[in-house]
Amino acid sequence: MHTLRTLHIVKNSVLLVLIFFGSLGALSAEPTADAGKTVFKNYCASCHAKNMKSALTGPPLANAEANWADYPREDLYAWIRNSQAMIASGHPRAVQIWNEYKPTVMTAFPNLTDEDIESTMLYIDGMAKGTYGAPAGGVVAENSAAGTQEASSNVLYYALFGLLMLLALILSRVINGLSKISAAKEGRVYQGKTLWESLTSRGMIMFTIFALIVLGGYTTVNKATDLGRQEGYAPEQPIKFSHETHAGLNKIECQYCHDGARRSKHAVIPAANTCMNCHTAIKYGSSYGTGELSKIYASVGYDPNTGKYIEDYDKMSNEDIEKIFAKWIGDQYVANNDDVTELDKVGEQLIKSEWKEIVSSLTSDVKESVAGPIEWVRIHNLPDHVYFNHSQHVSIGKVECQTCHGEVEGMAVVEQHSPLSMGWCINCHRQTEVQFADNDYYKSYAKYHEELESGDRDKVTVQDIGGLECQKCHY
């Protein structure tokens, strides 16, 4: 009789597990806030505030859904994928936003799927209401791409944990029952343990300590692994250089400035003379006027008033340099403000503040003069024991810059897009196909060529030619 009951329980449990897995499968295609977070970070975060309530380059998104509620959902999708097209077609809501925010153009994202957008909407909603990331909202995932997978597997673990606990409970009841019966058979009076006794039993305490150590160790190791990683690192730079303006709006090729990427291990932060290729002509910035461009001129020793390079510039004192730029900033202030005819108080204030900015941006503890190189803050830092070569990836592997650096052309302030962790590198080496066919170097891999031809192999990944080996990067 008891055996039968036990069997019944087991059967039920199996059924439960099956149902659970089934539901998981159904769930995975649905939009989730976590997926939305990834999309938001990749595409939206450079213009829209993460708190969804304040305006940045773009409007706050908290009420986006409500504002578009009067129109079909498809309109919202279309707007996000290509806002300019929609404005051109005269959609009333689109025109309304355009009038509010022009001339700022929203980048088009034709590659976003409906699910992506729905996920993002969920995330926006969650962030706006403060429900996203709260414990009630379910599992919190820290990492973007891997996070989604992790989250679903975590749910599985919790469910399994729950099931096992249930099983333990049932089994303890069974044992209890069996003990009672055997006690009854032997004529003893069975005395069950109280809850308190069970909780303070030796086994329970040992288990708790064990669990704490495992959890503590797990957390420590995870956190330690993250030490030194700076995904999302977006420091303030000495010059407010906007990739959005240069690479996004003006569509300047990445490698025009980062000319090391195709031929060196370093992509190279361009020398100031590269900036001067254009900025001898464009002397007044669209966003900051004279504020940022003057820093370049002050660094290289270019007199924007005369359009000539200054001789013996590195020997000039900061005071002498100040005179040149005070004149330039003042003149430009007058020239670019229609209602000002001569230098007024505001203009003088502007000169003072911009010069102060120039000095603070171009000098440091070890460099007193504003003349000389610009000290940029390095964003992508690899540890010293890692060898990475841009040209291998850009010229040979033909990897797009955006694959690792994200949509830099949409970043007003550059941030580190990828974790730059070893796992991340390795993962890409596992998946990426080698440009095998069009480079004679790879002819030495004769066997792979044969296999490709005979159809035994459909591709050769970096891993296949030794891309996971230690001394490909560490030496």
Binding site: L227, G260, A271, A272, N389, D440, Y441, Y475
Partner: protein, 1055 residues
């Protein structure tokens, strides 16, 4: 015969004697003075429970702080205006010329982001594109922390910082007031520099240039002046010689040091067709084992004072006349046979001598003339101009100074107060000179005496030219702007001469005037200059032809120095790397072991060993390695450590020049002893031996005996098959062959283990057959395994690359250029004397020295030993963290950041090539520790200051304490070569990848390449029947192949 080939190899007296201590040490995992024993010795390393708790607390706090801290902000600073030819991250090479102590070597300078970091050979202008060890190390002296950073003027007793304006004013005023100005210098090989100095004389009219060389060649120069009317040395063509006789001239090491000489010498020993070897026969007549002697086929041993007698004796046999001078009977017998072979060789003979006696050198000329060597193997037309010194000029200057005739003396980058035999006399009279000016690079004995220091730039910061022979012109160009406020010598001289010209323009004008005018290939001076600058120099035709007009033999014989009757003599010699101390303050050279004695950080008295007739090799006075003795030379007394040396003339001890410096920086001050004061002059010519010598018995033990010969030995001992007793393999072998007592042939010996194979050219056929047999046997052993190698690795190297190396032991002269190149390329730390003495040297590539043959007068084989990149590597499967593993290209990879320092791999390495960072040698550690334990006075080890760190190769990780490191086959160069091939979209060729050691080798002894590339350079070498693999029988599948050492010894001389 085959037995003899197999036997007879030993590493030193310790294994021959089977010294218990040494035998015991072989069983140990690591040298006994590990970190644990250190705790007892170094109080600073002591610890107790409280310290432990302190450390624990500190550790936890540090970890917490580190975890809590923000990541430090790193800056990236681009150029303001980027030079077109510099791409950050890509090396730029400039052709230039290395000039030091008679070596004029065309080089390429590798620069990264404007920093010179490595010297490479110039393949266009040198024979094999190699360099010497000293040229390799010269890049480090650019970052010498002791170099003068500003001009200095003496203020009271000490030099204090000044500026160029004051220095120029002070110098000009001193010069204009002076009656006599002396410009003291070592040989200047630059024609333009000489012109600049002439300009100084033109202005003041009383400048006399006093040229001397730190080791004198004046005897030979004067002999050639007498016989040819040309005060120069001949150019030698060793490649054309069949019989080479060298009297004490260490031409593969320190005598006229140059890489092309070694290249020529090896070219004359052609074994490319093993069936018909075309090898020169090289006789070395000497008293101590020199690098050249160790490479010779036969050595004729004479006492240092007998050298003249030996030359006279050979001359009498070859040219005629008679010599009545005393000479030991064995040498006479040997020289009889040498004479016969020399005469037979005729114009294919070559005789040279290091003697500093005019008559002896003229006898050598007479011999060369008699056999017809001039115009064939010895060339006086295109004469060698790298030595022009004359010490009698210095003596004359001292006399002038004594009579108060000299007002200003300028020392041009020379150091007579150290390397001149009458240094004390010079120092005493220098006080009478009003102004002493030093054109100096870094502080040394002489510069410390000067009133004004005009700091010169390093040659990598300077313009310059050099003429090594009459037809060879080289150009120097700066590869970095001056790091400090220095000025190159010529610019200072021109400034003082008041020409107002920069030396660069001056030199260009001089080239247009002289060199351009003398050639016809280029029409415009500008394109000629550009081409010379790009290539690093130009080779002009010819030279000026001269003919021999020697004197009568009889009168020359009377000028030969008489042998001494003293029982004990001491020979002073230059080592290949240290010479007479010109670069003694270079830590790479200090740490590089002397190839022969394998000692580093100091000079050690080489004492002869002799066989006691029973079982043991005894050192003179029963002295053992590392014993301290009192050495008395004349009235000068030294306390020096001893090293036992095979192949010494009995009754002779030897001590190296170039050590025992003072006022020259922590690297070399008081390291070793200075023997220059013991040098005596005979007829005004410095002699490099002394005969009034006594050596005491042992008076103590050297505290840090840094000889590396017994470090990292392997395969030494063996079991006697008959008795089952563990005996020293090599002793038995030696005894059986030479003295016929003990049987041979036991497992596990250095000879039975295939570490070295050697044979004589006459026995080559048998030996090749024997080698084949042995290799087949090894292969058979390797097949009988539970895990047949082939089965597991069938597909492993079937495509892509399989890197391998071939080392030709017949081409290796042991010069050590590869070891320094390896240190430079791979950021290998310098560890210092104390650490070396504790077996902690970090060199990835060592050159093992083995003796073989006659114990009294053995031959030597040098075996460069680095990680063998075994395809079945025993180190890999013992690593608990998989920090060392195998790549698909056959590389044994070492991953430092994964290594936890168990050292299991080092213990399991059969070749002992893995190195452990016992200390924080590079200060790369997060928390600096343990410097005091390195035995340094300061807490700053080598590489700790930012200036020295500029030499680091940015492509190679700097290792921290606690990890293992080893040869990587220069994986950074492999990756770079692959990238080049990929960029150009073509297959990789062997020439795309050259390891640092292979690139530095003057004799192409090392070939690196892809074993899968059947058309490559490496594949061609892998066909030789002389090839063997070290320890092939243990089935580790090494990727490095060696060749059997073949000598051309004339065995009839041994009888």
């Amino acid at each position: 015969m085959s037995n003899k080939m197999q036997s007879n190899v030993w590493i030193g007296q310790k294994d021959l004697n089977q010294e218990p201590e040494f035998m015991e040490s072989l069983d140990k995992e690591f040298h006994d003075e590990g970190s644990t024993s250190l705790l007892e010795k170094a109080p600073e390393m002591e610890g107790n429970r409280r310290d432990f708790l302190k450390m624990l607390g500190f550790g936890i706090t540090a970890a917490t702080v580190a975890a809590g801290c923000d990541i430090p902000v790193k800056k990236a600073i681009p150029y303001v205006i980027k030079p077109e030819q510099i791409i950050p991250g890509v090396a730029t090479y400039y052709a230039s010329t290395f000039v030091e102590g008679g070596d004029v070597a065309p080089i390429l300078v590798k620069t990264r982001e404007g920093r010179p970091i490595k010297i490479e050979g110039n393949e266009t202008l040198s024979k094999n594109g190699g360099t010497t060890a000293r040229a390799q190390a010269s890049v480090l002296s650019l970052y010498n922390i002791n170099r003068y950073k500003t001009p200095q003027i003496k203020d009271g007793d000490t030099l204090s910082s000044s500026d160029w304006k004051s220095v120029d004013a002070a110098v000009s005023s001193a010069l204009s007031k002076a009656r006599n100005i002396r410009f003291v210098t070592n040989t200047i090989v630059s024609p333009s520099s000489k012109k600049a100095i002439a300009a100084l004389d033109a202005k003041y009219g009383n400048v006399k240039v006093v040229t001397y060389d730190s080791v004198s060649y004046a005897g030979a120069l004067d002999a050639n002046l007498a016989d040819f009317g040309k005060r120069a040395l001949p150019s030698y063509h060793f490649d054309k010689a069949k019989v080479i006789v060298s009297f004490d001239a260490d031409f593969l090491g320190s005598y006229l040091p140059n890489g092309d000489v070694s290249a020529d010498y090896i070219a004359g020993r052609d074994l490319s067709d093993a069936n018909s070897p075309k090898m020169s026969r090289h006789f070395q007549v000497e008293s101590h084992m020199s690098l050249t002697g160790s490479n010779a086929d036969n050595r004729v041993l004479v006492k240092p004072s007998e050298m003249g007698s030996a030359i006279a004796y050979l001359a009498s046999k070859v040219v005629g006349g008679s010599s009545s001078l005393k000479l030991n009977a064995k040498a006479k017998k040997g020289l009889d046979k040498v004479a016969a072979q020399l005469k037979a060789a005729g114009s294919q003979g070559l005789v040279l001598a290091a003697s500093n006696n005019v008559a002896e050198q003229r006898l050598v000329n007479a011999i060369n003339n008699a056999i017809g060597a001039y115009g064939s193997t010895v060339d006086m037309s295109d004469a060698n101009l790298t030595k022009q010194g004359d010490e009698s000029q210095l003596d004359a200057m001292i006399t002038e100074m004594k009579s108060n005739l000299v007002d200003v003396v300028i020392f041009n980058q020379c150091n007579p107060l150290y390397d001149y035999s009458s240094a004390a006399e010079l120092a005493a009279v220098l006080g009478k000179v009003k102004t002493k000016i030093g054109l100096a690079y870094a502080s040394n004995e002489t510069n410390a005496f000067c009133d004004i220091i005009a700091p010169v730039s390093h040659f990598l910061e300077s313009w310059g030219d050099a003429q090594s022979t009459e037809s060879k012109y080289y150009v120097q160009q700066p590869t970095i702007s001056t790091i400090f406020d220095t000025r190159q010598m010529e610019d200072s001289v021109l400034a003082w001469a008041g020409t107002g010209e920069s030396y660069k323009d001056f030199m260009k004008a001089s080239w247009t005037e002289d060199v351009f005018a003398a050639q016809s290939k280029f029409v415009s001076a500008a394109s000629f200059w550009d081409s010379a600058l790009h290539d690093g120099g130009v080779m002009m035709g010819g030279g000026s032809s001269v003919s021999y007009a020697g004197g009568s033999i009889g009168s020359l014989m009377s000028g030969v120095s008489k042998p001494s009757s003293s029982e004990l003599e001491v020979k002073f010699f230059e080592t290949a790397h240290m010479a007479n101390g010109q670069s003694a303050d270079n830590p790479w050279l200090m740490e590089m072991p002397d190839p022969v004695a394998r000692t580093s950080w100091g000079n050690y008295l080489a004492v002869p060993v002799s066989f006691d007739g029973v079982r043991t090799m005894l050192g003179m006075n029963n002295l053992k390695d590392g014993d301290l003795v009192d050495l008395t030379i004349g009235d000068i007394k030294y306390r020096v450590p001893v090293v036992q040396q095979f192949g010494m003339m009995p009754g002779t001890v030897a001590l190296a020049l170039g050590y025992g410096r003072s006022n020259s920086g922590a690297t070399c001050d008081n390291v070793g002893v200075n023997v220059n004061p013991c040098l005596k002059k005979v007829s005004g010519r410095t002699q490099y031996f002394a005969d009034i010598v006594s050596v005491s018995n042992k008076v103590g033990k050297e505290e840090h005996f840094s000889c590396v010969q017994y470090h990292h030995t392997y395969g030494v001992r063996g079991m006697d098959k008959k008795t089952g007793e563990v005996i020293n393999a090599d002793e038995a072998a030696t005894v059986s062959v030479t003295y016929g007592v003990v049987d041979q042939g036991y497992q596990g010996s250095i000879t039975d283990r295939s570490v070295i194979y050697n044979t004589n050219a006459a026995d080559l056929k048998d030996s090749i057959a024997h080698l084949k047999e042995k290799r087949a046997e090894a292969e058979h052993l390797n097949q009988n395994t539970m895990y047949p190698f082939e089965e597991f690795t069938e597909d492993l190297y079937s495509q892509g690359h399989h890197w391998g190396m071939h080392v030709d032991l017949n081409s290796c002269t042991g010069c050590g250029a590869c070891t320094v190149a390896c240190m430079a390329e791979n950021n290998v730390p310098v560890v210092g004397k104390r650490e070396v003495s504790r077996h902690h040297e970090m060199t990835w590539l060592r050159i093992d020295r083995y003796y073989y043959g006659d114990v009294d007068n053995p031959n030597v084989v040098y075996q460069p030993m680095m990680c063998q990149h075994c395809d079945n590597a025993p180190c890999e499967n013992v690593c608990p963290v998989n920090a060392t593993n195998h790549s698909s290209e056959g590389l044994n990879q070492m991953t430092y950041n994964r290594c936890v320092g168990t050292r299991y791999c080092a213990n399991n390495c059969p070749y002992k090539v893995r190195r452990f960072n016992w200390m924080d040698y590079t200060t790369a550690d997060l928390f600096p520790a343990n410097q005091p334990a390195m035995g340094l006075d300061t807490d700053v080890p080598f590489y700790a200051d930012d200036l020295t760190r500029m030499v680091l190769n940015p492509d190679v990780t700097v290792r921290v304490r606690g990890v293992i490191e080893k040869c990587s086959f220069c994986v950074q160069r492999i990756q770079e070569g692959k990238l080049t091939a990929k960029t150009e979209g073509r297959r990789l060729e062997d020439s795309d990848v050259k390891t640092a050691c292979a690139a530095a080798c003057n004799t192409n002894a090392i070939t690196f390449g892809d074993m899968n590339n059947k058309k490559g350079d490496l594949a061609a070498k892998l066909d030789s029947p002389l090839n063997f693999i070290a320890l092939e029988e243990i089935n580790v599948r090494s990727s490095v192949t060696y060749t059997m050492k073949v000598n051309n010894r004339d065995k009839s001389l041994d009888a």
